[in-house]
Symmetry: C2
Subunit: 402 residues, 2 copies
């Protein structure tokens, strides 16, 4: 996939059924279309390979027997609007995200569920981007907190993908429709941002001081200890230390850490899916009310980030790596972060030189310290030394010639 | 200043004068207030030392003789609303930002002017934050693109300040007011985000391939070559190479670059002020129309970022730096970026050791290469080597004992 258009949408219709989005002329450069939405013009102008609309479950006007059905109902109403009213023939993916507040129905839960849920869903879409790609975000119809958090999620996802992809990111917004003006409106769609994405990943460690969990029971239900235990068990991350080491490998530029602690992406993805399933299972639907008893934790999104990184870096866990592979992969992953890349290749070059010189001794694994005997080398492991040598510290790194 | 509350606001009143923001009960934990805005509850709950409201000039309903007066009129209307309707007694700063679109008046210009302008104005506010501080953003009343771009600006500003400050960042959003519901509404204000800010600065170089300019003439006026020349001259950045070297010092962790190329913050600030003045001078007001003939460039914001960095790092340009000062400052600036900090202190420790050993020779400046003769040292300058040694490369760094 080379291009994707993501839109944040509010509610195009009133409760009675009448449309609240008026038909106006939307205009983007030479393209213009009279429509209830900016979508048709954007689709025509950008010609994205994929279209994703992010909406909120809070637009639901009646309850269903379970949450999945409620989301399905919302999704279908939007698809109907997109096909019949907007006459969009392209395939459109509608992501129904969890909102909070009193509307036709009352939705109880954590507002940040929106962020975590959309982060996961969008990550699964965007992992399919090619090396040269474009991401377009339209916030014209976004309401309230949704475009802000969607934008933040996108920024974070794209920051991770930018380690290995060249991404152009655009944001669009149409001039607002003013109901008071009588004249026939024409709303210009502005590209309010257009830029290259630089690689970035925040050093958010999993678990803080305690154990990492992907879900948390909401305050109101914490008294139900049985329930808490059950959720806690289902949401536990058993390998958070290793995941943190992988994170450190990216943030601090430690090539062997990346290979040693690279998570199994299939297993991690399954873990995330199970958490979403557990979360969904604990949405209770009562008369006029939808309550999410469980919420996603920041560690849920931290795990999604590492899943994205591991999957897009295209490496797999190894105990030992061929030096040339290490050089080549690190150039690709840290090519934009010049000082990291320079330090790594400097350290690898030193090791390579030594390996060539001491070929004969290297028919079995040798600690680097025993090879570099001539230099001022710390006789014991030191954390800062480890970081200053891109993780290729002489007391913990072994070398072999094969 | 230890805490600041920033809010993004739309228009609280209709053109006739009637309020469009209804009086409802806003509730945040134990605090509640019936008001037309979330502001009173937030002020009571957070007790911020400073309050900033970001509004758009497009709410203006009649023209003034110049743009500054138009902004002043908008500012006063909001202050009046804040004092009389919301009964806020604390001092409030209203930032009137440039918007685009057809409202009571028609506003022509670049939409991104909003981002660049608010970036500068907020930077000037936030530079006053203490080492331990809190930043609160309320997006309840934000409309359209404004909260998205305001949030992005804040994220970028705080990322730079986080090199030297511990910042807690919160975002608030009230449940939306639904006009259709008949019952007395109570809107809960949710803290939708709460987190520590990590240091970050994108490697956006000034000028790209050409010369850096803080302002650009908009497409429609490019034919007026005299005008273009005038603006180009006023907006020229003469020291962009040095500014880029300073940027590289931060992004790549090069301590001597920071000192060698640290910009004069007063001069840079003056340059930015002059650009804003020139931009404002070129806003034309005609009957029913406000046109900005000139727009801010991304380099304007790139310069603001470097101004923020230089000012908050609390360093000043020096040709030579005492080693202990270098160690101490770098620990403060790169304390969060552990691998950068480890590499820098590793390199400085090596130099210190050598300096102690060769004290007698060091009564005048000596190139590091001539001191470290024992090691494998490149005989000529090499860019990657420079980066791999935190900029303390042996062919370009000199040492003296005093």
């Amino acid at each position: 996939m080379r291009s994707i258009l993501v839109s944040s949408w509010g509610k195009p219709w009133r409760t009675g059924g009448e449309f609240s989005w008026k038909k106006v002329e939307y205009r983007l450069k030479e393209t213009s279309r009279t429509s209830r939405s900016s979508l048709p013009v954007l689709v025509e102008h950008i010609k994205p390979e994929r279209i994703v609309i992010v909406v909120l479950d809070t637009v639901a006007e009646k309850i269903c027997s379970n949450y999945q059905k409620l989301c399905k109902m919302v999704e279908e109403r939007y698809l109907d609007f997109i096909q019949k009213e907007l006459e969009i023939l392209e395939e459109v993916k509608v992501i129904v995200t969890p909102g909070v507040g009193s509307f036709e129905l009352k939705f109880k839960g954590e507002m940040m569920d929106f962020y975590h849920y959309v982060f996961f869903e969008l990550s699964r879409e965007l992992i399919g981007l090619e090396k040269q790609c474009e991401v377009h975000l339209d916030i014209t119809h976004g309401l309230n907190f949704a475009p802000v958090l969607l934008h933040e999620a996108l920024e974070n996802i794209l920051g991770i993908l930018a380690y290995t992809k060249n991404i152009k990111f655009s944001i669009y917004n149409a001039e607002p429709f003013i109901p008071e003006t009588k004249e026939k409106s024409s709303l210009t769609i502005h590209r309010i941002e257009y830029r290259d994405v630089y690689p970035s990943l925040s050093p958010n460690r999993l678990g803080g001081k305690g154990e990492a969990r992907l879900l948390a029971v909401r305050e109101e239900h914490k008294k139900d200890t049985e329930f808490c235990k059950k959720v806690s068990k289902a949401a536990k991350v058993s390998n958070s230390k290793e995941l943190n080491a992988f994170l450190s490998g990216i943030v601090n530029g430690l090539p062997l850490c990346l290979y040693t602690f690279c998570p199994n992406t299939q297993r991690l993805e399954k873990k995330l899916f199970l958490a979403v399933k557990e979360w969904r299972k604990n949405v209770e639907i009562r008369s006029g009310e939808v309550e999410r008893k469980v919420s996603f934790t920041p560690d849920f999104t931290n795990c999604v980030k590492l899943w994205l990184a591991a999957k897009s870096f295209n490496i797999e866990r190894k105990e030992a790596v061929v030096l040339e592979e290490l050089e080549e992969r690190m150039r690709k992953i840290f090519g934009y972060e010049r000082s990291k890349e320079a330090l790594i290749s400097h350290e690898l070059a030193k090791i390579k030189e030594e390996a060539e010189a001491k070929k004969k001794e290297l028919n079995k694994w040798k600690l680097l310290r025993t090879l570099f005997s001539g230099e001022r080398i710390s006789p014991s492991f030191d954390r800062r030394n480890f970081l200053a040598h891109a993780g290729l510290e002489y007391n913990v790194t072994e070398l072999r010639y094969s």
